[in-house]
Amino acid sequence: MLKAIVTVMLKKGIFDPQGRAVQNGLKSIGFEDIKSVRVGKQIEIDLETADKTAAEEKVHEMCDKMLANPVVESYSFTIKEI
């Protein structure tokens, strides 16, 4: 079986209010020297297949169709055996 770990983040240049809030929150409890924080999603998909190349293609398709919105988000992923 394979595990795909997909990361979806807001594109650079798009303001991330959640990241800002986390940064402020961390600051308020004493973590000062933080330059920036961005918050995105991690999606872990367990696939019932052993074919890594095919899986890669599939995960790309999943991301393009559903997991990420290319207007505002970018994605990346890794696939490993489990």
Partner: protein, 233 residues
Amino acid sequence: MNWGVLLFPGSNCAEDCFHVIDSVLGEPVRYLWHKDTDLGQLDAIILPGGFSYGDHLRPGAIAHLSPAMTAVKAFAEKGGLVIGICNGFQILTEARMLPGSLLQNKGLKFLCQDQTLKVENASTAFTSEYETGDVIICPIAHNEGNYYAKSETIAEMERNGQVLFRYCDPQGLVNDSTNPNGSINSIAGIINRQGNVVGMMPHPERSSDSVLGLSAGKGVFVSMIKHIQTLNS
């Protein structure tokens, strides 16, 4: 005229839209089911608000892939009137039937409140009941209503009069302090280039039944009815 309200799992405002079309406006209306591919004879489709698929992943991310959306697209391509309200708007952007995307509110909190809107273009099938510059109250209730599009896209929409509604204060003032969610240019509602697909975060249906104290949003539906009547006459 024949109205359809498209039901996705989690569309909480479908009954509300149905109620306004049926009981307040007295127009024929039926529900459409997300799994259907043939939607039958219709003049207008409402994509209602709510939390289709629980808003999981992103609002509208799963719903826009429903079989019925293919039919909605075909309907719109033939010129049919489509309006997406709140979650419906989010679904329309996910389906690329409208440009841009709706991000999380700048304040990071769900916001449910009366909201004043400025009508920016009264010469569309959805706004003819208003005058450009009118200020109306239309409640909002959303967590992801922060409209974003690339600056070129925004500029083009502004040029084409595609911005229908902007958030403003009761005097019609539009600026950062009257913008509840961080939307670019305070955009609350937009129309496509062809003029038959609208998306808006505020809920005109919640401002249509005078028992609840508001009725200015009714103009959206009345405009649509008049448009269809003119077409058919």
